[in-house]
């Protein structure tokens, strides 16, 4: 029972971070129909930004959340305006290929600039853990989990209760009517995309105490984010949250009880099952 509880909690905590990465992905898809294959790379960029701040300005990861968030906002804006805006409204595969190219491009530009060295961001809480009731919770993971949930919560609140959020949901439902209602879709899309990127970047910051920073680290989270989004339903923020937690736990359980190197298969099988049985996911809109 002890092991089961520990495994589940391990999974839950990393699931929180998966949720944060996925939430950005699902927002982007929900509002403008773009499948962003480079989401993981923006997590990586967030990590590099965090590292830069820590190394040159001596700003630790957690205080760095705000500046990195702002940086990613700018990055998201630029990327949207130069690339993504062109393919909104085009068939999904176009966006997949474009963002795939972006993903390869970003990974390797960072490689050329920074080299492939594994970088670290030092924090004081790195090795600390909360130990109680036979369980062990690494502090960095707990903080990541809590902060991730806070951001997801803020985003949900924004979408549900603010005018901006309502405008986003309107665009997601039906762009033409939204325009008639006086909403500027281009502005909404830009903002939604930027926010999605910010979420990825923030997740990156939260991850730096736990992982080395290197150009390829984005790929680890990319695929998981997609699985989470499909499970939760493309376009649903609560879905991304729940999906993230479920996938985190599932991965952890498969790893412990089946075999560690088969852990990804558990995730993929669930993913395929969801795709075949209920492609709209837990909370998504019905897909024909």
């Amino acid at each position: 029972m002890d092991i089961f509880l520990q495994t589940t909690i391990n999974g839950l905590m990393i699931g929180g971070v998966y949720a944060l990465v996925a939430v950005g992905l699902t927002l982007i898809f929900g509002v403008m129909g773009i499948v962003n294959f480079a989401q993981g790379e923006f997590v990586m960029l967030g990590m590099y930004a965090s590292w830069m701040l820590a190394t040159y300005l001596k700003v630790g990861p957690y205080p760095g959340l705000l500046p990195v968030g702002l940086i990613m906002l700018a990055v998201g804006y630029i990327v949207f305006r130069t690339l993504i805006a062109r393919v909104v409204g085009k068939p999904d595969e176009v966006a997949i290929l474009l963002t795939l190219g972006l993903s390869i491009f970003l990974q390797n530009v960072i490689l050329v600039i920074y080299g492939a060295d594994y970088l670290t961001v030092q924090t004081t809480i790195k090795d600390a853990a909360l130990n109680f009731a036979g369980l062990s919770l690494p502090l960095a993971r707990v903080v990541a989990f809590v902060v991730a949930l806070i951001f997801v919560g803020l985003l949900s609140y924004m979408l549900a209760k603010t005018d901006l959020g309502r405008a986003m949901r309107a665009c997601a439902e039906n762009r033409n009517i939204a325009t008639l209602l006086g909403i500027n879709p281009k502005f909404i899309f830009t903002l939604a995309f930027a926010i999605g990127i910010v979420m990825a970047g923030l997740a990156g910051v939260l991850l730096t105490p736990m992982f080395y920073v290197y150009p390829g680290i984005g790929t680890l989270f990319n695929l998981t984010a997609f699985v989470v989004v499909v499970l939760g339903g493309m376009g649903s923020v609560p879905g991304a949250l729940l999906g993230g937690l479920i996938i985190g736990i599932l991965e952890s359980l498969t790893g412990t009880y089946v075999a560690l190197d088969l852990a990804p298969i558990g995730t993929w099988l669930v993913f395929l099952l969801v795709l075949f049985l209920r492609p709209s996911g837990l909370f998504g809109r019905r897909v024909n």
């Binding site: 092991i3 495994t7 060295d117 594994y118 790195k126 062990s136 690494p138 502090l139 390829g216 852990a263």
Partner: protein, 415 residues
């Protein structure tokens, strides 16, 4: 067939042909033998990008130092003082690319020999390429299959992965005897890569023969994000000793997670990530006390007994800012060995160099740099006298503590 596309294609085809003719010519005339040799090229192939750049950079440092040392001492005397030139090639961390890159290098450069790679998964695809191109190579990768394929141009200067397990288990037996630890339950966790699988299998084999109880034998995917499931399993297995086989990223993750989850078996590292400067940088003072198996260490007896060899390690440390690493040592030796083979053969012809290497047998000079002090390539191309050593981090550096014939420091028991 649409006319426009066909035209486009034929234009491209012609262009490509033209370019390849150009590249083929520009690469240097391989057939002609120059009258006076002023320079002999040695190819250096290692990953200088991607996930294995850590190791590749160490190899490069060592190779550059070796070339410097050779040239400063007068170059290749048998060829009138010809200088060695290193042709540095990045294999990338992708085996497909590595083979391609090797192809390209051998086709465009006239080299007397090649050094590399330090990563088994990248060395294996290059072997057939070197064999076809008839270029002798000396590698510091540890995979057993390297010298098992029947290639005549392949030489391996380091211990084999299967030996690592033996050394680690012997060391555990030594610990058990000396400190009365009574360890019987052991666990192996290893990265799912060429190096990991090879080393882990070696441990499993020997542990069984030594009568130890293997309570966990688990592969984990390289670059995994979360070590908690792995550590949970380690805890659940009740292992008293752990043999982790990991590169830098994962080593850090596993150790930190174990620390924070309060799982503390005796750790006997499997090399790679547990030996490199990044590990010490990462762990700070906490690194002291960690042990690991290694294919080479800078302070083994065969080196400390020879002041010229000690000088090499000191030069490395001065030039690159860290102790001479497990990758750097054998690569340095490899470059020096090729130079010696060229010297012995009196020629930069790769086939003659290969023959000189095949008959190499020495315990002086550079040959003594590989522990226990003799270098001799057997008929399969493997340096048969060599064996791994155990190191323990002390004062921020890895010190050789086992076996007795190589150790220069005593193992310090911590707890």
């Amino acid at each position: 067939m649409r006319g426009k596309q066909w035209k486009l294609f034929s234009v491209i085809l012609v262009l490509v042909f033209a370019a390849s003719m150009f590249a083929g010519c520009g690469g240097g005339d391989k057939k002609a033998e120059p009258q006076k040799v002023t320079e002999v090229k040695i190819a250096f192939m290692n990953p200088l990008s991607g996930s294995n750049v850590d190791a590749g950079q160490q190899d490069l440092n060592a190779a550059e130092l070796a070339v410097e040392d050779i040239n400063n001492a007068g170059g290749i005397k048998a060829l009138g003082g010809a200088k060695i030139k290193l042709v540095v090639v990045d294999t990338t961390s992708d085996p497909k690319q590595a083979a391609s890159v090797a192809e390209r290098t051998f086709s465009s450069e006239k080299v007397a020999g090649m050094v590399g790679t330090g990563i088994s998964g990248l060395t294996l695809p290059i072997l057939p390429v070197a064999e076809k191109a008839k270029v002798p190579l000396i590698t510091n990768s540890i995979n057993d299959q390297i010298t098992a394929q029947g290639y005549k141009y392949t030489f391996q200067v380091t211990p084999k992965g299967s030996q690592f397990g033996g050394t680690q288990v012997e060391f555990l037996k030594f610990l058990n005897e000396k400190f009365k630890l009574g360890i019987t339950k052991v666990a192996v966790v290893y990265e799912n890569s060429g190096y990991g699988v090879s080393t882990a299998a070696g441990v499993k084999d020997i542990a069984a023969k030594a009568g130890l109880d293997m309570v966990l034998y688990e592969a984990y995917p390289h670059g995994f994000t979360d070590a908690s499931p792995l550590v949970t399993k380690i805890k659940a297995s009740g292992a008293q000793a752990l043999f982790p086989v990991a590169y830098t990223t994962d080593a850090k993750l596993i150790i930190n997670t174990m620390k924070s989850m309060n799982v503390n078996p005796v750790i006997i590292g499997g090399g790679a990530g547990f030996l490199w400067p990044a590990f010490a940088k990462e762990m700070g003072d906490a690194v002291n006390g960690f042990v690991s198996v290694a294919s080479w260490n800078w302070d083994s007896k065969s080196i400390t007994a020879n002041k010229d060899l000690v000088a090499v390690t000191e030069r490395y440390e001065k030039k690159f800012g860290t102790f001479m690493t497990e990758h750097a040592g054998p690569t340095y030796v490899a470059v020096r060995l090729i130079a010696e083979a060229i010297e012995k053969a009196g020629s930069a012809d790769p086939t003659k160099v290969r023959d000189a290497l095949a008959s190499f047998n020495s315990n002086t000079g550079m040959a003594a740099m590989m522990q226990p002090g003799t270098t001799k390539f057997d008929e399969k191309g493997w340096n048969s006298p060599v064996h791994p050593v155990m190191i323990q981090w002390q004062d921020g550096k890895p010190r050789t503590v086992f076996p007795a014939e190589d150790s220069t420091r005593a193992f310090e028991f911590k707890k």
